[in-house]
């Protein structure tokens, strides 16, 4: 966790989450999404990201904390991990923040309602609690395939 220094902070419901800036390629406004049939519920479809077909995930649904409500502040955080590129729908993307690794605490058992398996740590900052997300886990393809299997079965 020492390597995290700059993070993108975004909001889901009333909570603040953060992702390593190295994994974020851009933040986009949500435009026309094409639904892809017979995929997991949290996969909202695909968008045209400058000529690249990019899948879109409702992060709230993925983390089992409700569903995205589409407002003017709704943003898509495009993240790239290895050869996978996806967009995460968030309620708003607020800030880029420097984080001192020293201030990161271990995740408590339960943060809000997000299970600890998706969390690498929490940071307290100006009375704000920022939850650091483990994007590798969030994007775990095997798990998604498992979800898909149960859907198609």
């Amino acid at each position: 966790m020492e390597e995290i220094s700059k993070v993108i902070v975004f909001q889901l419901a009333d909570e603040h989450y953060a992702a390593d800036i190295k994994q974020v390629s851009s933040i986009e406004k949500l435009e026309h999404v094409t639904t892809v049939p017979r995929t997991a519920d949290f996969i909202k479809g695909v968008i045209n990201l400058r000529g690249n077909i990019t899948p879109i995930i409702d992060l709230k649904e993925r983390l089992h904390i409700g569903k995205a409500e589409y407002t003017d502040n709704t943003r898509v955080v495009i993240i790239t991990i290895e050869d996978i590129q996806v967009g995460l729908i968030v309620d708003s993307a607020t800030d880029v923040v420097d984080i001192d690794p020293e201030t990161i605490d271990d995740p408590p058992q339960m943060i809000g309602s997000v299970t600890e398996e998706y969390i690498t740590g929490v940071v307290k900052r100006d009375d704000q609690l920022i939850i650091l997300l483990d994007l590798d886990r969030v994007l775990n393809v095997d798990e998604i395939n498992a979800v898909e299997d149960t859907i198609t079965d």
Binding site: T34, P37, V46, I47, I53, D83
Partner: protein, 677 residues
């Protein structure tokens, strides 16, 4: 010398040369008297030897050297072209190919070829008529191969008081302008006399197709030291080695004077005249001279670069669509004009781009003649392979994939189709069977046809087998048309061979062929006439990256259905939809086919289900099976750029990819094969 950077070039060129040897050998087998073919083979073998030796691949060099010796004897009419010679040369070529392949895979290109060497040696010595001409000695000691024409010229020049020199020039390793140095050397030498031969040939030297060393044969009246001095004026030469041709040095009289130079002009004219009369022998070099310029204008480009260029271009195509839409909305005439012009230009660019990825199917067909020859030998069948349309071009990706299915079909035809010579004789057919391989363009497709004049497909036998293998029930068998029966051999779990042979009975049926072709977006059809042969026709799309599709809407979604799978679009009324076992079906040209609603399959949210009077149905087919897909409406035909859904979304049901429409929205491309049951 560090040769690593040259390995790639060496491999490419070796393959080209081996292919050339291969082709010419096949021709030579049919026309054993055609000396120009021998010369071609010789030339390739020689170049190969030179390259291999420079690169340090001793085995290849020694094997090609032996080949060369045998070929040389043939060329000098001291040895007849026999089946034995052809066979062993083929074997040698095969061994060479293996060695080259091993180098390509990072190996050392070593292989035990001692038996081949011994065999070639036996041919070389065993059947050689006592060496009458001393030329043969020369060619071995000097590596300078002289044909009849050249030796005549030399002996005539000798009578005129000329001397024949064999000059080997070595350029320095860091020589930058090899072709320029070659030119300077030639220019220098021509002051003294005439260069009648060079190894490698002059064209190759000009194209820098040599390593560091080249040898020329010079006719001159000057002495060695004069030539040596002249050549030393040329920079970047490491060494100049001049020797006098052995049998001609008896009448050496190196003293220049005016009258003799006149004579030498006459001599030149004489040579030119002879040029015409000796056209036959001269032909040995002429064909390559004609071919060379066309090949020299091509460059090898990494396919990845072309692919990434294609990707960039695809983005432009999408923007083009957007611009077209926008300019129409704005209605500004100048803008519309400019956009239209840009569209035309980019359409031309698009087709250029596509042709860049196109390669002639020759690449695939090339390996067949030898394979067929080998198979015919192994199976004791007598047949001829006719290839036409080898220059038909196909997308690179298709070319890479189509080889194996074709090999499979050819093996199948030779093994099961063509009868044994005795049987053919009995049936009053020509003893030699024919196998025709044709490729040609047909609309937006490329057709590959493979036709044999063998036994054809035995309907009864196929049905019997199909029933035995449990893929057909007896009562259904009666009703099948011939086409349906022939189609069975392409079904999985089917194989007609009585005994499992090494050739086609590998437990892999022709269904593999069909699957592969269908995965390439193509189709395969079988036609057959018992007793007269069968024909396999393969229809392939020209390219895989741009698809012709029919755009349809379902609720708010737009889907693209590949035209290649569409049989027809029809409008049905509600009462034309019938139910069989609670499953909706429709009548399509007398056939009852199932129908599926795309909205249901894709779980598209439907706002209200208005009872429409007309129902739009797209009939898609997979082989003989058809299914009707219910959609809301048809938008029209459109060429779309196929894009993958990425690594995150793998194997989405019934979706083969996506494309971006003119308005920037993503539209999914349906894979109808998944929807047909």
């Amino acid at each position: 010398m560090d040769t690593n950077q040259y390995v790639e070039v060496f491999l490419d060129e070796s393959r080209d040369h081996l292919q050339a040897v291969n082709d010419h050998l096949l021709k030579l087998e049919k026309q054993p008297q055609e000396m120009s073919l021998v010369a071609e083979i010789f030339r390739s073998a020689h170049t190969l030897k030179g390259m291999a030796a420079t690169m340090g691949y001793e085995e290849i060099a020694s094997l090609t050297h032996k080949m060369e010796n045998v070929l040389d004897l043939i060329r000098n009419n001291e040895l007849q072209v026999t089946t034995e010679v052809i066979d062993v040369t083929f074997e040698a070529v095969e061994a060479l190919e293996e060695m080259v392949a091993s180098i390509a895979e990072g190996g050392d290109g070593k292989k035990d070829v001692s038996h081949l060497l011994a065999h070639l040696q036996k041919i070389e010595t065993g059947e050689t008529v006592a060496e009458e001409s001393s030329e043969n000695n020369q060619s071995q000691t000097t590596e300078m191969e002289l044909d009849d024409y050249q030796s005549t010229v030399i002996s005539q020049a000798k009578e005129q008081g000329y001397q024949a020199y064999n000059i080997t020039i070595r350029l320095t390793a860091d020589c930058m302008l090899k072709a320029a140095r070659v030119f300077m050397v030639f220019e220098g030498l021509e002051e003294f006399g005439e260069v009648i031969q060079s190894v490698p040939a002059a064209e190759e030297l000009e194209e820098e197709k040599f390593d560091q060393e080249f040898t020329v044969l010079l006719l001159s009246k000057h002495n060695e030291t004069a030539i040596q001095e002249r050549l030393h004026k040329v920079s970047e030469l490491e060494s100049v080695n001049i020797s006098v041709l052995a049998d001609l040095d008896n009448s050496a009289s190196p003293s220049p004077n005016e009258t003799e130079s006149k004579e030498s002009k006459q001599q030149d004219e004489k040579i030119e005249k002879e040029d015409n009369t000796a056209a036959e022998t001269k032909q040995t070099t002429a064909p390559t001279q004609e071919k060379k310029p066309s090949t020299s204008k091509t460059i090898r480009v990494n396919i990845e670069r072309i692919d990434s260029m294609m990707n960039l271009f695809e983005e432009m195509v999408i923007d083009r669509g957007r611009l077209e839409d926008l300019s129409k909305q704005l209605g500004n005439h100048e803008l519309i004009e400019t956009v239209e012009h840009m569209s035309r230009v980019s359409q031309d660019m698009q087709s250029m781009m596509l042709t860049m990825r196109m390669v002639p199917i020759e690449q695939v067909f090339n390996r067949f003649p030898r394979m067929v020859r080998g198979l015919a030998k192994d199976l004791e069948k007598d047949l001829e392979l006719h290839i036409s349309g080898a220059d038909t071009e196909l997308d690179r990706t298709v070319i890479d994939e189509i080889g194996d299915p074709l090999v499979h079909l050819i093996r199948n035809s030779i093994d099961h189709g063509i009868e044994s010579p005795e049987k053919r004789k009995q049936q009053g057919k020509p003893v030699k069977g024919t196998l025709q391989l044709r490729a040609f363009h047909s609309g937006n497709h490329v057709m590959i046809e493979m036709e044999d004049d063998g036994a054809g497909i035995n309907r009864e036998k196929v049905i019997e087998k199909a029933i035995a293998n449990g893929i057909l029930s007896e009562d259904r068998a009666e009703k099948l048309s011939d086409e349906d029966v022939y189609d069975l051999i392409l079904t999985s779990g089917f194989s007609t061979a009585d005994k499992v042979s090494d050739i086609s009975g590998r437990g892999v049926g022709l269904d593999v062929v069909r699957n592969k072709i269908e995965s390439l977006g193509g189709h395969i059809f079988v036609e057959s006439e018992p007793g007269h042969g069968s024909k396999f026709s393969i229809q392939l799309p020209l390219t895989l990256s741009i698809l012709s599709t029919l755009l349809v809407t379902v609720s708010d979604e737009t889907y693209a259905i590949p035209l290649s799978s569409i049989e027809e679009t029809v409008a049905l009324t509600n009462d034309q939809i019938m139910n069989v076992q609670q499953k909706p079906v429709m009548d399509f040209r007398g056939k009852v086919i199932p129908i599926v609603s795309l909205a249901d399959v894709f779980e598209v949210p439907q706002e209200e289900r208005t009872e429409k009077t007309d129902i739009s149905v797209v009939v898609v087919k997979k082989g003989e099976k058809m299914t009707g897909l219910i959609v809301d409406s048809f938008i029209g035909q459109k060429e779309v750029v196929l894009k993958s859904l990425g690594n995150y979304l793998k194997d989405v049901y019934a979706i083969s990819g996506a494309t971006i429409l003119g308005d920037g929205h993503v539209s999914l491309i349906i894979d109808p094969n998944a929807l047909i049951k």
